[in-house]
């Protein structure tokens, strides 16, 4: 697709959204303190774009995974600060919205290969860990619902496996860090913990190592050469006629032709 076609397509998409928008009910929201009327049902991110803002930063996957669009909001009459990923949360009437695209934070420098699984390694890289006073503001600020403070506690206790489990869903949006009383770099600490867990603590996959060994030893070379030498038609036929594993196959199921196993 050339650039012109691309532009045309995205223009069509915008037009379609506008059409849908004119049919939807408009609700008031406040972006950085200014009032806008936006169609009900849009995400915070879409509504912000609808209001005329253009994202250059603070917008990534639009699928709730990359963590670029961490957002705070409040509703009138409620002292509670609320959080969301702008690409995931639908606008609600009278939301006061401030997106936090980036928050300055200290990330320790380390040579990963030199790190062991001893928790003291993390303590040395992030000594501010021990400034935590258990206020729990981090947990309240997590759009992923992670028990952030519990993970910080687990880290203090040297339980790296627990940290890895608790923070598996972290998108590193940084909202916890922005609220931290002790100025901790929670999400960088968690990333380090998950790296250590993956490389040094989680049990290795023996079967995978065996398989890689077999590949290295050339067990599948002939099979692969055979496929590479086929004409397209022949390859198609082989592919289409391949034996599929039945949906209800048991643990001990094997294909008729076992040369590839």
């Amino acid at each position: 697709m050339n650039a012109e076609e691309k532009n045309k397509n995205s223009a069509e998409v915008v037009a379609e959204e506008k059409r849908a928008a004119t049919e939807a009910r408009l609700i008031p929201i406040y972006i950085m303190g200014k009032r806008y009327e936006v169609p009900e049902g849009l995400t915070i991110m879409k509504a912000t774009e609808y209001a005329g803002y253009k994202f250059i930063r603070g917008c990534g996957c639009r699928g709730g995974t990359c963590g670029a669009c961490g957002t705070f909001y409040r509703k009138p009459g409620d002292y509670k600060l609320q959080v969301a990923l702008a690409c995931q949360k639908a606008v609600e009437p009278d939301m006061y919205i401030a997106q936090i695209p980036f928050f300055p934070v200290n990330r320790a420098q380390y040579e990963f290969v030199e790190l062991t699984s001893a928790p003291e390694e993390v303590f040395k890289l992030y000594p501010e860990l021990f400034r935590c006073v258990a206020c729990n503001a981090c947990t309240k600020a997590c759009p992923q619902g992670i028990e952030v403070m519990d993970a910080i506690s687990a880290l203090k206790q040297g339980n790296i496996a627990e940290v890895a489990q608790l923070t598996f869903d972290c998108t590193q949006c940084g909202l916890c860090t922005s609220r931290c009383f002790g100025e901790l770099a929670q999400y960088h600490m968690f990333q380090l913990a998950r790296r250590i867990y993956g490389a040094r603590i989680a049990p290795g996959a023996d079967h995978l190592l065996k398989m890689l060994g077999a590949i290295d030893e050339g067990k599948y070379d002939d099979l692969l050469q055979g496929l590479k030498g086929m004409r397209e038609q022949e390859l198609r036929k082989v592919y289409q006629e391949r034996e599929m594993e039945p949906a209800a196959a048991g643990e001990d199921w094997e294909p008729r032709d076992t040369t590839g196993l």
């Binding site: 935590c132 006073v133 729990n136 309240k140």
Partner: protein, 292 residues
């Protein structure tokens, strides 16, 4: 019987030799020390500042976890955690204004007003099991051991949290007797080890250690029994320094009370994690024929 138990961060890293033998011993005595879920740091030091409420949040949150479990007693093992948690609990019981502020700040938690009783494991041994019963369960009496009970500060001060007489405590003495050992009385038993003052004045570490260890030694003690990881660290580091700096200073092994308990109850010495101790305890115990 299951007891709600608070370990504390140090017991999970540096002081496994305090925790592991405690859990093993209590099981032999018919009690399961059950870690409270989602515990956090105890606060490390009880804050004395009047307007420093934020430092009470950490200990109180732990007490809330106990209440959530429907339990009314919390067993602690580290003397410092005991002190911080028990004092925070008193604050929640006695100071209505601060209690309300803390409860309203922790709006994600249930309200708390000091319902949980904070105890130290030594109190469980004394009050719920009893020295008589304990001594009957001893399989390997520690007859050859002359040990100075070192209380430090946090089990005894301030008075309102003390587990025993502030001036003349006997709980560790009684404990040692129940295990068959000989407690050696010495005048520095309740003296401060230097605590966190050492951070600001690192050179003081050997001064504190000198006073405590030389007095214990001159009173005839061959080893010291401890309850607190901070005492262990300060005295251990101080002793190392003294052995280098003062010729003729011999030093002595230190034991956590839980290690002696496990040994006397006949548990596998492996559980005591002696490799984490200062002062070659295994050599000493071998000389006394208490471990192979």
């Amino acid at each position: 019987m299951s007891l709600a138990y608070y370990p504390g961060c140090t017991l999970k890293t540096k002081a496994k030799n305090l925790e592991d033998p405690a859990i093993g011993s209590m099981e032999v005595l018919g009690f399961k020390l059950e870690e409270i879920p989602r515990w956090n740091c105890c606060g490390a030091v009880y804050s004395l500042a009047d307007d420093d409420l934020i430092h009470q949040v950490a200990p109180v949150r732990n007490l809330i976890r106990v209440k959530e479990q429907g339990k009314n007693e919390l067993v602690t093992l580290c003397a410092f955690c005991f002190n911080t948690l028990k004092r925070a609990n008193l604050l929640m019981k006695d100071n209505a204004e601060k209690r309300d502020t803390l409860n309203s700040f922790m709006d994600e938690e249930i309200d708390y007003s000091g319902e949980v009783k904070v105890v130290h494991l030594l109190e469980v041994l004394r009050d719920e099991i009893g020295w008589e019963t304990l001594s009957r369960k001893v399989k390997l009496p520690l007859r050859e051991l002359k040990i100075a009970p070192y209380y430090g500060c946090t089990l005894l001060r301030p008075r309102e949290v003390a587990i025993d007489s502030v001036e003349n405590p006997i709980i560790l003495h009684e404990f040692l007797k129940a295990l068959g050992a000989t407690p050696v009385d010495f005048p520095d038993a309740t003296r401060c080890c230097g605590s966190y003052q050492i951070i600001g004045n690192p050179s003081d570490i050997s001064e504190y250690a000198w006073d405590i260890l030389s007095t214990a030694s001159s009173c005839g003690a061959e080893a010291l029994v401890l309850t607190c990881p901070l005492c262990d660290f300060n005295l251990g580091q101080g002793q190392k320094k003294l052995m280098k700096e003062r010729s003729g200073f011999k030093g002595m092994p230190f034991f956590y009370f839980t290690q002696l308990l496990a040994l006397a109850l006949g548990l596998d010495p492996e559980i005591c994690r002696f490799e984490l101790n200062y002062g070659e305890p295994e050599l000493f115990l071998r000389e006394k024929s208490l471990i192979p």
